[in-house]
Amino acid sequence: MSNSCVIVGIGNPARGDDAAGHEVLARLRGRVGHSTVLLEHDGNMMDLLTVLQNVRDVTLIDVCVSGAPAGTILRFDAARPLPAELRTHSTHGLGLGAAVELARALQVLPPRCIVYLIEGTGFALGERPSQAVQAAIGALAQALAAQLGAVHA
């Protein structure tokens, strides 16, 4: 996996907007080359650290609740420290931001690490992602497919 480009969709596909990461991957399937690995992830950030240790180019897609309008897409380049608000404090909630900063401190952060966050609002069990998040899923998948096409053309 080390020389591949890895896209990690993080979240729980059964919980409404939390499925966004997985849904972006579903829409990228068949649209990206063999050198791109699509990895569904349940959100266990300790295990995500293991993933980060073994790749050079990673894109992480997760959902956040920041108070922005539903479906807002945030992009961060982990070349710079992620905002402190992305780090949470308990182990049950070891956040994406903490996992990335931990990888940086351990000097195992991939040379390229991009984080996309989609603003979610509803996380009920068994629900589909909301309309606004579905639109964001489509837009992000489209943008990533175009970007990967351009890179690997």
Partner: protein
């Protein structure tokens, strides 16, 4: 009358959300309360009306750190209800599975949550910057624990391959043999971890705890044994509710459990003190070399005991892996019957008690689950009270740090017991 408030909105490195309120009146300590305000999740009610075979998968969802413990207590209680005794290779596989969870859970707490307290770091990220080899070693160990659980139980979190009567599928000899190299390396890493733990600065603080743990005639306890204490208690799980009583307290949504009306402690300190003679030779020798006697009443040294238990779990796992021969059957036939049965196993944080009542069709009529953190809350509060009485003159920031460390000594899983710790010190 002066009034002083110290408030910590985000006590880090505990599992779940909760709070702590210390009340001082006229300069003297009035109360120290661990406040769990996470709403109850009603798992016992969720279990009612479900088939007995669903209990392992439902109870595994109580905790993402120790799902195996919840499954195992449920399984043993159900098997007791159905009159089934499991031994041989399936029993050994269950013990191996439990070893995987102990390694994973303990190492998470030792390295990510507890070590920063001793090394003067504010977070695991700071620890990673200043003590990267320690964190790397911890991550490798945790990976091995997860690997064991994944091979036996289908996946590392919320296992799916465990059932009443055995497993849905048992691993092949080759699958288990592939664990041998990583577990051997993990045992070496665990030995290093014990040596590292002996170098930490431990405050001189002891309490005369009532320790409660399982005790087995031959084994260091995981899945089975009698419930014993250092004050003469020696009962079966069936007798648990005649000695232990859960009660509601106004400051916590988790129940507090008492033994004969008093607080007691379960978990690594209790297990070790009541069972140090049951450790494997390598773990016993490592404990002695690290300067740990057969009894440990210093809660700060729980980190050392956890390191010993990680070493033991790796050693025990290796023993089981080496001797493994796949059983002829992965499960036994089960006949539902009306029954009431109990079981207790040793979750990483301590004794975990389950009791179920089944009807003739095997439908759960009643369920009761007593988590380790519910049992330890009283002792955590007593630790805080005893420490605070002698240190009220410390600067507030320092006092807060000490309180947080005292809570983390017991690795409370607040989510299991009923999440985020807030510390509030009120002086009136």
């Amino acid at each position: 009358m002066a009034r002083k408030t110290i408030k910590v909105d985000s006590l880090a490195r505990v599992e779940g959300d909760g709070g702590l309120q210390v009340l001082m009146r006229d300069g003297a300590l009035e109360s120290a309360q661990l406040r769990i305000f996470e709403p109850p999740r009603f798992f016992e009610a969720l279990l009612r009306g479900r088939h007995f075979s669903e209990a392992p998968d439902i109870t595994a969802r109580i905790c993402g750190i120790c799902p195996v413990a919840y499954q195992m207590s449920a399984i043993h209680a159900m098997e007791n209800a159905l009159g089934v005794q499991i031994d041989g290779a399936v029993r050994e596989l269950r013990r191996l599975l439990y070893c995987g969870e102990w390694i994973s859970s303990h190492v998470l707490h030792i390295v990510m949550l507890h070590a920063p307290d001793f090394l003067g770091c504010q977070s695991a990220i700071e620890l990673a910057r200043e003590h990267a080899p320690l964190l790397q070693q911890g991550l490798e160990l945790k990976k091995v624990g997860n690997q064991i659980v994944a091979v036996l139980a289908g996946r590392a979190i919320h296992p799916i391959n465990v059932r009443i009567g055995g497993f849905y599928r048992v691993p092949t000899k080759n699958e288990v043999r592939e664990l041998r190299a990583p577990v051997t390396a993990a045992r070496e890493a665990a030995l290093e971890l014990v040596r590292w733990s002996a170098t930490l600065p431990y405050p001189d603080f002891e309490r005369d705890y009532t320790f409660v743990a399982l005790r087995h005639p031959q084994e260091y306890p995981l899945n089975s044994g009698r419930i014993v204490s250092n004050r003469g208690l020696d009962i079966t799980a069936d007798e648990y509710e005649s000695c232990f009583e859960e009660c509601q307290v106004h400051h916590s949504s988790a129940l507090h459990c008492h033994l004969d009306g008093a607080t007691y402690l379960t978990g690594p300190l209790a297990r070790y003190t009541l069972n140090s003679d049951r450790l494997s030779p390598i773990a016993r020798e490592a404990a002695a070399s690290a300067g740990l006697g057969p009894v440990c009443r210093n809660p700060y040294r729980s980190i050392m005991v956890r390191c010993i238990e990680v070493l033991y779990a790796c050693d025990e796992a290796l023993r089981i892996i080496t001797a493994y021969e796949p059983p002829p059957r992965c499960t036994v036939p089960l006949e539902p019957r009306a029954a009431r049965a109990c079981a207790a196993t040793e979750a990483p944080r301590g004794l975990l008690y389950h009791r179920y009542t089944l009807d003739g069709d095997g439908i759960i009529q009643a369920a009761r689950i007593v988590a380790p953190t519910s049992q330890n809350q009283g002792s955590i509060e007593a630790d805080l009270a005893e420490f605070l009485r002698g240190h009220l003159s410390l600067p507030q920031f320092e006092l807060r740090q000490h309180c947080e460390h005292l809570v983390r000594n017991h690795d409370p899983c607040i989510s299991c017991a009923a999440h985020f710790l807030k510390l509030e010190v009120l002086s009136r």
